[in-house]
């Protein structure tokens, strides 16, 4: 995790921050969803508590905490309580493996009387060389929380909901996994960082030995894999159990599906898992098909670097001047302009780019939910097995043939 106390501390704090980010996106998304649905359906939505209804979330959280902790009779206590905890794990572990921005290079610096560094901090929870397989594997554990919740509740509808949900998740996992083969054929790596770096340039490929270059477009996966991107995104909807694929929660048939018997904070934990999955889905979509944190020729690293250099150099003299009197000598160095601060600022600018892209996809999740009606269960299974799986196969074969023809000399 690190060679000295500073590195270990930064890495651990970063990981906790990323997890908190995932947990904190839930109330925000719930607010966006409620306001957005109201906007789509020409209603008001929550608008009484605080400005624009924003503190509604806080009120909800307080309400969640003070709800009764209910355990239905004949339920299996241990599994009943373990299921919501299990719901948090897959999304959190998967999200921490996705790079949220470029790695930060820190040169040697002096702090508290000793020399630290140099360090290289990745802007993600942890860097795993085999990122894609790891994320797929960890998110495939999500089926357990559904099954455990449905079975432990000792409720017929919960069990049906859990079975439907897990059958649906595993069915769409096939199309999901297969649509990624096209991306792997193109980029030939499992590593998210390498995939993003490969997309961070102008669109260029060789076409029968001729170099074709479109300088005004970034080299994003979606331009090579449009079909794969569509299949991936649709399968991700099913993985998150979101409308139009939210059969496990079909209120008219199953009360509330696998979490019928849950209430209060435990119910909320299932929501954290679901919205965490949406976040992971959007982040993966951005990483594979939309260039991750990079913007290709539209916003190169040099531009951002220059910009942050200018910002740091113009701001830190002001801070040093303002902070001049009350601080001892050793603290003044914190506010001086240095290459490290430029690097950190650059990384955060690209992190903003990444977040912007992710937010677009999160909004798509919300918009689709309030636009499309729900499928029937047989239609859902037919779509997964008979439509998306063959199309994903066709996409794989087509990509393999095209790559073979293009790259063969």
């Amino acid at each position: 995790m690190g060679s000295d106390i500073f590195e270990v501390g930064v890495n651990f704090g970063k990981m906790v921050l990323i997890f908190v980010m995932m947990v904190q996106i839930v109330p925000l998304l719930v607010w966006v969803e409620r306001r957005g649905s109201a906007f789509i359906q020409n209603r008001f939505g929550p608008n009484r508590v605080g400005p624009l209804g924003l503190t509604q979330l806080l009120a909800d959280a307080v309400k969640f905490i003070f709800k009764e902790d209910f355990l239905p009779e004949k339920s299996h206590r241990l599994v009943f309580y373990a299921a919501p905890i299990m719901a948090l794990i897959p999304a959190a572990l998967a999200f921490a493996a996705i790079p949220l921005s470029m790695p930060i290079e820190i040169t040697q610096f002096e702090m508290l009387g000793s020399i630290w560094g140099p360090y290289r901090f990745v802007f993600q929870g942890y860097e795993i060389g085999i990122g894609i397989v790891f994320v797929l594997g960890v998110s495939s554990l999500a089926a357990y929380s559904l099954l455990m919740a449905g079975w432990a509740s000792s409720n017929k509808y919960s069990l049906y909901g859990a079975l439907r949900a897990s059958a649906q998740t595993i069915s769409y996992e096939l199309a999901l996994g297969l649509s990624l083969v096209g991306i792997l054929l193109l980029f030939n790596t499992f590593n998210f960082q390498e995939i993003i770096v490969l997309q961070d340039k102008a669109l260029a490929f060789s076409f029968f030995g001729q170099e074709v270059s479109l300088g005004w477009l970034p080299n994003w996966g979606v331009f090579y894999q449009p079909l794969g991107a569509i299949i991936f995104f649709a399968a991700m909807f099913a993985e998150c159990n979101r409308l139009p694929f939210d059969l496990p929660e079909a209120e008219a048939e199953l009360v509330a599906g696998y979490h019928t018997e849950y209430g209060g904070l435990k119910m909320n934990m299932f929501y954290i898992g679901e919205y965490g999955h949406m976040l992971v889905a959007s982040a993966l979509m951005v990483t594979f098909y939309f260039g991750g944190y990079s913007l290709g020729p539209w916003l190169t690293e040099e531009t951002v670097n220059g910009l942050s250099q200018w910002i740091v150099e113009s701001i830190s003299p002001t801070i040093v001047y303002l902070m001049d009197i009350p601080f001892p000598e050793s603290f003044a160095a914190i506010f001086e302009a240095s290459q490290n601060k430029v690097n950190i600022l650059t990384a955060f600018v690209f992190h903003g780019v990444f977040l912007g892209k992710v937010l677009i996809f999160l909004w798509l999740f919300v918009h689709v939910r309030w636009t499309l009606p729900r499928f029937r269960y047989d239609q859902l299974m037919d779509l997964g097995w008979k439509t998306m799986l063959p199309w994903a196969l066709a996409n794989t074969i087509l990509t393999a043939i095209v790559v073979l023809v293009m790259r063969m000399n």
Binding site: M1, F12, M15, F19, V23, I65, F66, K67, E68, D69, P72, E73, P84, I85, L88, I89, A92, L93, A96, G125, Y126, G129, S154, N155, K156, Y157, S158, L159, Y160, A167, I170, S171, L174, V181, L184, L185, N188, T189, F190, V255, T260, E261, G264, L265, K266, N268, Y377, D378, M381, D382, W385, K386, P390, L393, T396, I397, V403, L404, R407, M408
Partner: protein
């Protein structure tokens, strides 16, 4: 091994956080007296049947086992996709394509046989 330490740390932290939430919910919630009717599982207000009598179609089992088979086939395509360009550069492009073409032919035959044999029909 050392690259796994953060993974374990995060998993431990998440489990700790989850247990904390469950404990908080158990501590702060009101604790009214449990009654027989109240603690019954909620099945639309009828007397709960529980899960013993629940009959589930064998389709779920079939779906799960077919999923495993196709999942294994798909996971074998991953190393192939990774090494594909290496083989092409070494001048063995047709060989590696043919190797996977045979495998894919079996895969496609299996998939279409499942569809034809109505194993994937849900009525």
């Amino acid at each position: 091994m050392s690259q796994l330490i953060p993974v374990f740390a995060l998993a431990g932290f998440v489990i700790f956080f989850g247990i904390l939430l469950v404990l908080v919910a158990a501590l702060f919630g009101p604790k009214p007296k449990a009654s027989k009717m109240k603690s019954m599982s909620y099945e639309c207000g009828l007397v709960g049947e529980g899960q013993e009598t629940t009959k589930v179609p064998v389709k779920f089992y079939l779906t799960a086992i077919l999923f495993i088979l196709f999942d294994i086939e798909i996971i074998f395509m991953y190393p192939w996709a990774i090494a594909y360009s290496d083989f092409i550069e070494a001048g063995q492009g047709l060989y590696i394509f043919g190797a996977m073409a045979v495998f894919l032919a079996i895969f496609i035959f299996g998939l279409f046989w499942e569809i034809r044999s109505r194993a994937l029909e849900w009525e």
